[in-house]
Amino acid sequence: MTQTELASQTAAALPDDAGRSKGTIHVVHLYPREMSIYGDLGNTRCLTARIRRHGYTPVLHQHHPGAPFPEVAHLLVGGGGQDSGQARVEDDLALVADRLRSLAADGVPMLMICGMYQLFGNAFITVAGQRLPGLGILDVTTQGNAKRMVGPVVLRTDVGEVVGYENHSGSTTLGAGQSPFGTVLSGIGNNGTDGTEGARSGNVIGSYLHGPVLPANPALADSLIGIAAEQATGRPFEPEPQDDAFADEARTRQVRRLVR
């Protein structure tokens, strides 16, 4: 069993590999059982692999409802879920809310996809008009919708063009000062009317892009890893050159197909 496999399977810290590791980065995957569908696992897979390829040691913690929240967290990821999954995590989310808010305030990078993006917002308003409060880390509000917004997406973002696939029934509106994660070049995005997709506050990103979004968009993955490396080591990120030929080709082909 390789170190990565070990790291991705256990939450126990690994001893640094005889000083060759540049540092240990603790990644927390929120609710991998309940809030992980449509390939969201690909994001954690991508992060742990790239952390290792950059010369750091990844430790992946899977946070399940009711379990104590990991003591050390340098990077958080969360995914989409079905309604039933969402209902299962709400109680736990209330318990760990303060911790998540303080991590966000401390600049810990987070990537929250789809259902978790909605839960990181101010509220979700159901089709029946019921208001379900969220964590309020992102200033967004989501309105339940009968119609699903489904299809491939291309965005322009701070880290360049980003491709993915959206599949959501919630329609999300940004608060007055809230920046989006990206501008829609192809696809629907937050609501299909204002051309925005996702939200970004400090180092916290919310987005509807499955895809999963990180493997084909390595610049986004590395921007999260870079901040996490600084959080973990107190030193600037020391990246290694990566072979991203497949990722770049996969992404640019989607851009060419979808954006004219």
């Binding site: 569908i37 449509y38 390939g39 969201d40 690909g42 692999a49 079905q82 299962r88």
Partner: protein, 437 residues
């Protein structure tokens, strides 16, 4: 009666026209359905051994074929929809081939493969006597966004059944349905023997709807359990101690655990339908003779060496396929398209583990999303020989570079159709949608 005759004639004319144009199989059914909306009900209503619907995410085609073979081996005349066109219009289309103008089908029983949504629509017109419900997994996410929704469709289908349902004991989405069957409807289960229960997680989705696990169902003598002997040989035991008898040991032509589970499901259902007429020896022989359906481990001989085409359409199916074929490494190609019939979202590739391909590597990736699957393999440290998005060029290169050894192509639906057309043009292959005989 006159209306039914008109429907048959109109449908047949459409079928001929469609065949001449060489397009899909559903159009003639659509025509007949328009002319006589009660066509289906009228044609199927009087079948003496009933109407069996086979539904669920994975294994419908294989299981339907096995169940039909089991019933035919016992002397029943079976009407089925063999083209894998698993919605109501497809059923009518295949019916038009067999009904005389009176609209009466000369069959004893209908065994129909229907996807979850169409099964329910079908049941609104014709109430099935029996249903065999296989499993619930992520599939075609554009159409059925939520697994829970799919599970609910199957539960509603079970409520429509008049006589008996057969459910997957090991799939909590399906086994729970037992509690919801109507009054007087007999419930039977199929599943795996305790000795291989540890292999189930690779086949299943998480059911997170309920905080507590489903109460276990204790198998009875009418419930069929799969007991494998080795990689190929197995038996179906009725009851935990085979107190209800057994079928086998036997080997299927189609490889893998999933096919064995399908055979167990089919045998359990056949035994329910046939009652005392069920003959274990006859059943074992029928299962041995079933050929793999189109795309499920179909083997084509190209230049004297086998080329296997394996259809992959969702994480559970791909994982099972890799497990089935992984133990005998051969030259491998993977072709992924993202047309509607493939599922437009390719995210699911990240829910499949490709580690079993690491040692031998993948010679070529192809299809519209050739680079996405190459990238996915890279993240599992599986070496990729080359990426060629053009399917015809990729296939030619694959065959040329691996001439004297067994070869296998994992492909999504439209990629498979395209590869198959290409093979049919260059080698002696039966036409699309027809069964190899």
């Amino acid at each position: 009666m006159l209306r039914t005759t008109t429907a048959v004639l109109a449908g047949r004319a459409a079928r001929l026209a469609t065949r001449l144009r060489g397009s899909g199989s559903a159009l003639p059914g659509l025509v007949a359905e328009r002319v006589d909306p009660r066509f289906l009900a009228r044609t199927l209503a009087h079948l003496p051994h009933g109407i069996v619907v086979v539904s669920g995410t994975n294994g419908k085609t294989t299981t339907t074929k096995m169940l039909a073979a089991l019933l035919r081996a016992h002397g029943l005349r079976v009407f089925s929809n063999p083209t894998g066109s698993n919605f109501t219009r497809g059923v009518i289309s295949s019916m038009l081939r067999e009904v005389p103008l009176s609209g009466r089908l000369s069959a004893d029983v209908a065994v129909l493969e229907l996807d979850e949504a169409h099964a329910l629509r079908f049941a609104a017109t014709v109430r099935p006597t029996h249903a065999l419900l296989l499993n619930v997994a992520r599939d075609q996410l554009d159409r059925f966004a939520e697994i829970d929704h799919t599970a609910a469709l199957l539960a509603r289908l079970a409520e429509q059944v008049t006589t008996g349902v057969v459910l997957n004991l090991d799939d909590p989405f399906v086994s729970r349905i037992g509690a919801e069957a109507g009054d007087g409807v007999e419930v039977r289960y199929f599943g795996v023997d305790a000795s291989i229960a540890d292999r189930l997680p690779e086949l299943q989705e998480q059911d997170v709807r309920f905080a507590e696990a489903a109460p276990p169902v204790a198998p009875r003598a009418t419930d069929g359990l799969l007991k494998p002997h080795d990689e190929r040989s197995f038996e179906v035991r009725f009851g935990a101690e085979a107190e209800g008898g057994r079928v086998g040991p036997l080997e299927l032509q189609q490889r893998g655990l999933a096919a064995m589970i399908n055979a167990t499901a089919a045998a359990t259902t056949a035994r329910m339908l046939l009652g005392d007429r069920f003959d274990a020896g006859c059943a074992a022989q029928a299962l041995r003779e079933v050929r793999p359906p189109f795309g499920r481990g179909e083997v084509v001989m190209v230049d004297g060496e086998p080329l296997e085409l394996v259809l992959v359409k969702n994480p559970a199916g791909f994982t099972v396929a890799l497990g089935t074929y992984g133990s005998t490494p051969v030259a491998t190609m993977i072709a992924v398209n993202d047309n509607y019939a493939d599922g437009r979202d390719v995210s699911w590739l990240y829910d499949v583990s490709f580690e079993s391909l690491r040692e031998r590597g993948v010679a070529l990736t192809s299809g519209v999303r050739a680079y996405d699957i190459a990238l996915r393999l890279q993240y599992d440290d599986v070496p990729v020989g080359a990426v060629e998005p053009d399917l015809a060029r990729a296939l030619a290169r694959f065959l040329e570079e691996h001439p004297a050894e067994p070869r296998r192509v994992f492909c999504t639906y439209t990629a498979m159709m395209s590869l198959r057309r290409d093979l049919a043009a260059r080698y002696d292959l039966p036409g699309i949608g027809e069964e190899a005989s």
